[in-house]
Each structure stands twice: as C-alpha cells, then as structure tokens.
C-alpha cells in the first residue's frame, strides 16, 4: 500500500510523460534512498580569520535535488542563449555563465531571500537564482515585452526583488553593494548584502574605496570575487600583482573557496553571512571557478587558453557532474530521477525559448519611458517631428 501511494505521488509529482514501468522502478528505488548524508568539503584558505567554515556538511536529498535542478536549469538556459545568439535572435552583448553555476546556487543556498545581492554583467544565473523565470530571462535577451526589464535592457540588465542587477561597467557595482549594506545596517533588519565582482574587476580602483568604507563602518557586506581565471582575454597572473584575491581586502578578513563545489560555496556563504550578522563588519570571499564560454559571444574563448584546459575542467570538476556523482554514489538519488529532472528542464527551456521568440517587442512609446521620475508625462527632446514621444515613469 505504501508503495502504491508512492507510485501515485510520484506520477503526480513528475507530471511529465513517464511510462508506467519506469515509475515503478524509480518508486522502488526512492524508498531505499538515503534521505541525507554528510560530506567532506575542501578546507578554505583563510586570511585574518582564526577559524573557517566547517570541513563537513550535511546535504539532504531534497536540497541536493534542488541544487541539481537549479544548476542544470542555468546550464541549459545558457546553452539555449548561445544557440539563439548564433541564430541572431539574441543581439547585443551577451556573457554566459555556464561553468560557474555552483557559485550562484551555493550563494543563494547560504543566504535568505530577504538578503540583498548585486553583481556585474554575467548576470543570467543570478537572475534565475533570485527567482526570475527562465521565460522572463530569455525574453529579456531577445528584447521582448515579457522580459524581466520589459525587453529594454538586454543581457547585462536584469533585476528582481532584493537583486540590484545587472551592471555593465566593470567594478562599478561594488561601491553600490557597500551602499546597500549601509542601508541594511541602518534599517537593522539583520540583512546582509552580497556584492559580487570578477577577477578582472578586482583591479579597479573603486573596489578599494568600497572596501575602506565597508570596513570603516563595519557594514554587513560579503564581497565575493568570482575568480574564473581570465579577465576577458587576460589570465589572472598577467593582470594581478597578487592573485590571492581573498587577501586583497587587506584589513578585511577573507576566505578562498572551491567555487566549483556547490556545498563548499554554501558553507562558506553561511559562514560569511553569520560573520556579517554578528556585526563584525565586511568579509571577503574568493570563489575559484571557471567559465566554459568565452568572455562574451564575440570571444571564442580559445585564443588565450587551450581547449585541453577547458576539457580538463569539464571532465574533472564540473559543478553539476560533481553534485550528481555525489548523490548517486551515496544512494541519495537514482539515475532515473536525474534523467526525469533533465527531461523536465529541457521542456521548460524549450517552452521559454518559444515564448522568448514569439512574444512581441515592446511598443515604441517605451523607448522614452523611465528616463526621469515624473508625475505628468514630459516630451522627450530630439524625437522626430512626426512622432512626438512622451516619457512616463
């Protein structure tokens, strides 16, 4: 009877076209699956910290599957974006996140939805983990009305609640993040701000201005450097006098974390968030990660690194494969259900792409809207004499 119920429940839960025999198989294995397991994770390098995050963590089956689903969705979404770009349906500048999924997913798992997050232009993954649907992300990329920024922003400009985007200028978002953290401190709701930047941006002057202010005023800010080894086409060794990015806050304590392991990222983020919530001031994290695509769509990504290097990372430390293997080898998930999840994701992405290519573009009036805040519409200067456009916000 128990088994019967599980079968029914799973059929309902799955929703996809699953044939009867497979459901029985997976249901049988579900019953035997381990609900949770403990894993060893890599010890973080520490800077000005006596103690780092724990080297062991417990992963529940439910969380594991959720992380898997999220990372895989981001991966598939990026590959779809790549395809749409090559078909010239997505235009403009487009920076893909595949390879770095463990960072976005691990960070989101380590903070609360009420916490704040701001990042640079490689933004699709964070937009998804902050709660925006694939449909709205792809529609933004194709410049359609249903996009998350009404189709007006495009790849680098996506925003959601407690998610401040989506910033195109290298390093410019970091002082903003410190400002958001100042607001968190002032409002005393025990929230933190996660401020992300890349290894390339780490050399911008304004980052250090932000560090100073954050440390001076003990702001609850987690500065995170996603070190994917290359700032555009220049490797970190060629661009940075010190590649110990976790130490570059000097007086700000730091951690170096394995950014390819979602569990390491989650643990480190929890640790950092706790640190900030205790009122100890800012903390810096370096996530060592890797991007599979080039810097942007105009960069094939193989002129400054070898194809072998990319293949090696894919083979040995792909964040999605690593999590999947962990779960399967510990009997926390069955291959069948992973396959089912993959099939569901594929369907979701296809549907989203369908929407993103069929939704209408925003109306022409939208060209002038949202320039200023204004109560009554104002006429925008320069628009042609036969189409007077007004701006409304």
């Amino acid at each position: 009877m128990q088994n019967m119920l599980t079968v029914v429940a799973n059929t309902l839960k799955g929703g996809a076209k699953i044939n009867g025999s497979r459901v029985v198989v997976s249901a049988r294995s579900f019953a035997d699956l381990t609900p949770q397991a403990s894993f060893d994770i890599k010890r973080c390098d520490l800077h000005r910290l006596d103690e780092g995050p724990s080297v062991q963590t417990v992963l529940t089956r439910e969380d594991g599957l959720r992380y898997y689903r999220t990372m895989q969705t981001v991966r598939r979404m990026e590959l779809k974006a790549d395809q749409l770009y090559k078909q010239k349906i997505i235009r403009g500048f487009c920076h893909l996140y595949d390879g770095q999924e463990a960072c976005a997913v691990g960070i989101e798992a380590g903070i609360n939805p009420t916490d704040h997050l701001i990042t640079a232009y490689r933004v699709h993954g964070y937009t998804y983990t902050r709660g925006v649907s694939v449909k709205e992300i792809l529609a933004e990329l194709t410049g359609r009305k249903g996009g998350i920024a009404k189709g007006k922003g495009g790849s680098m400009h996506m925003y959601a609640k407690n998610f401040y985007g989506g910033n195109g200028i290298v390093g410019a978002q970091v002082p903003l993040g410190a400002g958001v953290a100042l607001a968190c401190q002032y409002q005393a709701k025990n929230e933190v701000c996660v401020t992300l930047y890349g290894d390339g941006a780490a050399n911008q002057g304004q980052i250090f201005e932000a560090f100073n202010m954050a440390a001076l005023w003990k702001l609850p800010c987690i500065f995170i450097c996603e070190n994917n080894k290359y700032g555009m086409g220049t490797s970190v060794e060629r661009a940075s006098a010190s590649t110990d990015y976790y130490k570059r806050g000097d007086y700000i304590p730091g951690l170096r974390v394995d950014g390819m392991d979602v569990l390491s990222v989650r643990e480190a983020t929890r640790f950092a968030a706790d640190y900030c919530r205790y009122g100890k001031g800012p903390i810096l994290m370096e996530l060592q990660t890797y991007r599979y695509h080039g810097h942007s769509m105009s960069d094939p990504g193989v002129s400054y690194r070898t194809r072998d290097e990319i293949q090696e990372v894919r083979g040995k430390s792909d964040p999605i494969t690593m999590l999947k293997d962990r779960m399967i080898s510990n009997n926390m998930a069955s291959l069948e259900e992973i396959k089912d999840i993959d099939a569901e994701i594929r369907k979701e992405i296809e549907e989203a792409a369908q929407f993103a290519t069929s939704d209408p573009e925003p109306p022409l009036e939208d060209l002038c809207n949202h320039i200023f805040f204004n109560d009554t519409p104002f006429e925008v200067r320069g628009t042609s004499p036969w189409v007077k456009l007004k701006s409304i916000s």
Partner: protein, 391 residues
C-alpha cells in the same frame, strides 16, 4: 513621405522573427563584433536590422606613395605600426591590446615590436589614462586604448583634471602632449546602453585636449598619426561600425591629415550639412536625396576635429548657403551640434535663411532594440532639409 517611411521601418522591427529586411549590410554590426569564424551564424538566419548608411570610400590618395586595401581597423594598425617603427619611445597599452584588442586594431604589433612596447593592462580605465599621462610627461609617446568609449568615464577625472590641465597648471613646465587615447565609438547596430555611446561632447567642454573622429580608413590613419605627433593630449574616437565596413586604399607609409581642419567633401549652394564619423556617410545620402528629389544643392562638411574645431570652414560655408544642418548620434541636448549652432548664429546671423537645425540622438539613454528609431538616419535628416528649404 518621410513619415510613412519611418512607420514602414517600424513594422519589420516588430515582426523581426519572421525573416525580413534584406540589405547587403544587414549584419554589419554583428560581423564587426565577431572575432571568430566559429561563431558565424547560419546563412539562413533572419537579418534584423539593415545598417542605416552606405559607406562611401574616398578617392585613392596619390600624394602619399603606394596604397593598400585596408579597412578602418587595419588602417589604425598601420598607423600604430608606423609609429612604433619610427619612434623608439612609443608604447601601446590597454585592455587586451597585446592579443590584438577586441576590435583587432593592434594585431601583430606585440610580436613585431616586443611585449615591453605593446602590452596588456588590468581592467582599470582610470589607471590606464593616469599611467599614460605619467609616461607621456616623462617623454614617452603613450598610446592608450580604452576598450569602448562607454568605458572612458572612470578615466574622466584623469582626462579632464590631469591630462587637460597639466601644461596650464605647471606654467608650461610639464605636459602630457605625447598622450593619445584611442577608443571605439558610436553605434554598432545592436550595442545597447554600454557599447554605443558617443561621448565627444563631454570632453569638448574641456580646454586642453583635442578630440578627433575620422570618417574612414584614409582619414583615420592620417588623423591618428597627427594626434600622436601633436603636442597636446588627444582623444581619438574610432567609429566602430566602420571597422570592417569601411574599406579604402590607404597609403602604407606614414602621413598626416591636419587637425582642426574640416574637410568640404561636396560643394553646394543651398544648404550646409555638418557631421563627423559615421554620420558623414548618412549625410552624403541626404545630400544626394536632396539633389535628386528637391533639386537642393548641399555642401557637405566633415568636421573631423571636434575640439578645437574649424569655425572658419563651417562659417564660410553657411555664409554662402544660408542654411545649416548639423547631425550627430549623441543626444541633442548639450551635444556638440549646440556649440556649432551657437557659434554660427553669432557669426552668420544676417546670412541665415532658416533656423539652424540639429538632427541628433534622442534625449534618452542609447536604447537596445529601439536603436533604429534612435539614430538620426537619412530620413530624419532629409525631413529637416525639407523644413529648412520651405521655411
């Protein structure tokens, strides 16, 4: 007529997916931004935007020796090549320039001249310009690249407060005249907010620097070499949509096209058209349309140097024609057209037959999918011509 045309243009954009607008130059922008043959799209893919202009090559220059077919980025490379070969103090630096730069302007130079003369910097625009000022002040010919004109703002302070005022504030004891800042500029077809801006007017408010925008490969090489040789800090904006689209016969040896000298590209008697960069090619078509459809003879001037600009050539022309139309991609309010308009109004008030017209970008941020509406295309300019003639 022009109104209908605009709305006709609107419809393909809206139904962009159902395969549309041909135009030989439909994928200009994309081609230009593409560095790799790997990412070339399928030939069947729909073309979303036709380019808003047709490039008109200059006649082959004969006075500077043998020429070679080059596009705009190759002519820039050629100018840099000549400089590095002839001036042992010359250095080139910027983000990714050692590999040739994102627009391929420095391809091969590191291998030819060594990595101590052509080198990458970290991503820090303020640092790049500041570093350039120091190098130039100490006697090097410093050529800095800012990867996009849109990224120049972090360096705004260094350019405006340090570079432009160095000579003045030191009573001529120090200067950074050997500094040249190159930067890709202007619309590109799909560049959106941060890859399309034309910031020349911001810098035009700043005495002490020179600002130059070329219209094609021949001019680009001559003007860039003049900027490098000039004893003042110069900003050289390269229209990025022309990097691959513009092809001309360019002299292989070094030559100079004088700064602060506008060029009259076509003589006319009824109306003066002033533009720079990509917009010159739009204006050429406008002049042809005006002649053909209205029998109006236009005089076309490429301003070339934005600061200090050639008031004489422009005013002389307006005295003759009595009408002036200025066009640029940057937003209309506070754009450089305003400065030209004001000066011409003072100098040529009694000669004017119609109010001076400006056809420019809208007062909005540079829009993503609305780019075809935003840019001052030939139809908007032509409409302005009609209004001025009928005034």
């Amino acid at each position: 007529m022009a109104a209908t045309r605009l709305f006709l243009r609107a419809s393909p954009v809206k139904s962009s997916l159902t395969g549309l607008t041909g135009g030989v130059r439909g994928s200009l922008g994309l081609t230009l931004l593409k560095l790799s043959p790997d990412c070339t799209a399928q030939p069947t893919a729909p073309r979303r935007h036709a380019a808003h202009f047709t490039f008109h090559p200059d006649p082959v220059p004969t006075q500077y020796g043998p020429t070679q077919k080059m596009n705009l980025f190759q002519s820039v490379t050629s100018a840099l090549d000549n400089t590095l070969a002839g001036d042992p103090t010359a250095v080139i630096f910027g983000e990714d320039v050692a590999f040739g730069g994102v627009f391929r302007c420095t391809v091969g130079l590191r291998d030819k001249y060594g990595k101590d003369r052509v080198f990458n910097t970290p991503l820090c625009e303020q640092g790049i310009v500041g570093f350039g000022i120091g190098a130039a002040a100490a006697g090097a010919t410093a050529i800095a690249e800012i990867q996009f004109a849109d990224y120049i703002y972090p360096a705004f302070d260094q350019i405006v407060n340090e570079a432009a005022k160095y000579r003045y504030r030191s009573g001529n004891m120090f200067d950074c005249g050997r500094l040249t800042i190159r930067s890709p500029w202007g619309c590109v077809g799909h560049g959106s907010i941060y890859h399309s801006q034309s910031p020349e007017a911001f810098f035009a408010h700043c005495p002490g620097i020179k600002i130059v925008v070329p219209r094609g490969p021949v001019q680009a090489k001559g003007l860039l070499l003049s900027c490098i040789a000039d004893q003042n800090p110069c900003i050289f904006f390269e229209p990025k949509i022309l990097y691959r689209a513009a092809v001309e016969q360019v002299p292989t040896e070094a030559y100079h096209v004088p700064l602060s000298q506008a060029e009259v590209l076509q003589e006319g008697s009824d109306l003066t058209l002033v533009a720079w960069g990509t917009q010159v090619h739009v204006m050429r078509e406008v002049a042809a349309m005006a002649q053909e459809k209205l029998g109006v003879s236009c005089e076309l001037i490429d301003l070339q140097t934005i600061l200090p600009w050639d008031t004489e050539t422009v005013c002389k022309s307006v005295v003759k024609t009595g009408r002036l139309l200025i066009s640029h991609e940057a937003p209309v309010t506070g754009g450089f057209a305003a400065e030209i308009s004001s000066t011409v109004q003072e100098e040529c008030f009694l000669n004017l037959e119609a109010p001076i017209s400006r056809v420019c970008g809208y007062d909005t941020p540079f829009p993503h999918i609305f780019e075809p509406f935003y840019i001052p295309d030939k139809w908007k300019c032509f409409e302005a011509v009609k209004r001025m003639i009928n005034y």
